[in-house]
Symmetry: C2
Subunit: 232 residues, 2 copies
């Protein structure tokens, strides 16, 4: 990767970056009496997805999510019923798009960027959560880490996208509201663009890669990408 390399393909993270996970809050409010328990659950889900990959193991993201919910119930003395599990799956299947998603995707597509997604979630039959949220048509391809059975931020996940698209990782810019995702993408040779959603922030540290682009909304992020890496 050289400094003058510029990405032509923008790779979007899905959960929380494009789709709004706060639709899950009423479930956590009911089970734990606190809607912010969603944050604890999501952090534990990500932590254990990384644990599995570091350990050379794999289970679908959705199964780990159910396990993390049951773990939290044990910790907090709460009860999780089969109906709660069904509601978790159902709500995850109909997460709405963040309001800044369609304007940003429209801008990036119109100036000529190729757009794909890469998610920790397993693939699902159509209509997918992205399609239900009205975002399906923006993307050439929708990648799941299940193809390599390793979760982000393992380098194999970003290389999967590059290989399937027939490009180098330096042709990719990963967009996410989770720094752990841009850290991994940048370590694998991609560019990284960070959008600061609520309950997310940068983690400063001398050895921690800073994102190439930081924005408070996807619309601003899209403009920064267009300005920095103009499409020929």
């Amino acid at each position: 990767m050289t400094l003058d390399t510029q990405p032509s393909i923008i790779v979007f993270d899905v959960n929380e970056t494009l789709l709004d996970i706060t639709i899950l809050e009423p479930l956590f409010e009911r089970i734990f009496g606190n809607r912010l328990a969603l944050r604890e659950w999501f952090a534990q889900l990500i932590l254990y997805s990384q644990t599995m990959t570091l350990s050379g193991l794999y289970a679908p993201f959705g199964e780990l999510g159910i396990g993390a919910l049951r773990m939290m119930a044990s910790i907090h003395g709460a009860t999780v019923t089969d109906r709660d599990i069904e509601e978790l799956k159902e709500r995850m299947g109909r997460m709405p798009a963040h309001p800044d998603a369609i304007p940003a995707l429209t801008r990036l597509r119109d100036v000529g960027f190729r757009l794909v997604t890469l998610t920790n979630s397993a693939s699902s039959p159509s209509p997918t959560p992205l399609e239900r949220a009205g975002l399906g048509d923006f993307f050439e391809r929708a990648f799941s880490v299940e193809a390599v059975e390793k979760f982000k931020p393992a380098p194999e996940t970003y290389r999967l996208v590059a290989q399937e698209m027939g490009v180098e990782t330096s042709d990719l810019c990963l967009v996410a509201c989770h720094l752990w995702d841009t850290i991994g993408a940048q370590a694998a040779g991609c560019r990284g663009a960070f959008v600061a959603r609520p309950h997310n922030a940068l983690l400063p540290g001398p050895e921690v890669p800073s994102p190439d682009i930081v924005a408070s909304a996807l619309t601003d992020l899209a403009e920064q990408i267009i300005e920095r890496w103009p499409v020929d």
Copy 2:
């Protein structure tokens, strides 16, 4: 590893398993108005330590801890001063032993198990936190993941202990109150024993290794180890 292999060396995780991290709570209470913010911080610290290792990067655990504290301050609109950082380090240096630690370690040592520690924390000059807590004399060796520059649960961390002790990983039983640690240890060929400290629980899932031993206190855990794997 065969089913009749039994471990002769017990490898203890340190933070939260032997030493009580709740001594940090007053700091989190002051900064975030909520002592349980400690839990969010510790989960994010573990998550980002795993992120770094998956990305082929390394920074000392203490530095990531400071970064995670600053990240949380950004998220919650709180302020972290240099004095707060100093207090974090100071409190982490004098975490007390859990009350069940000395009785359990005494029992295991007296029946002939060899005892060592393996921590994500960087090594520190004497007196170390373990020594200050009165636990230093129980252990033949104190290992830090800094030697391999990968955080637990990377398999290299457990193999480090086996190599340095001149044994196979199947000779080791890893004791921790964090399932992510026993998952990694078991995937690397060790036995895993889980002690259920407050705010910790098992994560059930079909592909997630169950610990060989589960206990609610280190004293009970020690008795189970002695009963299951009697020393010749």
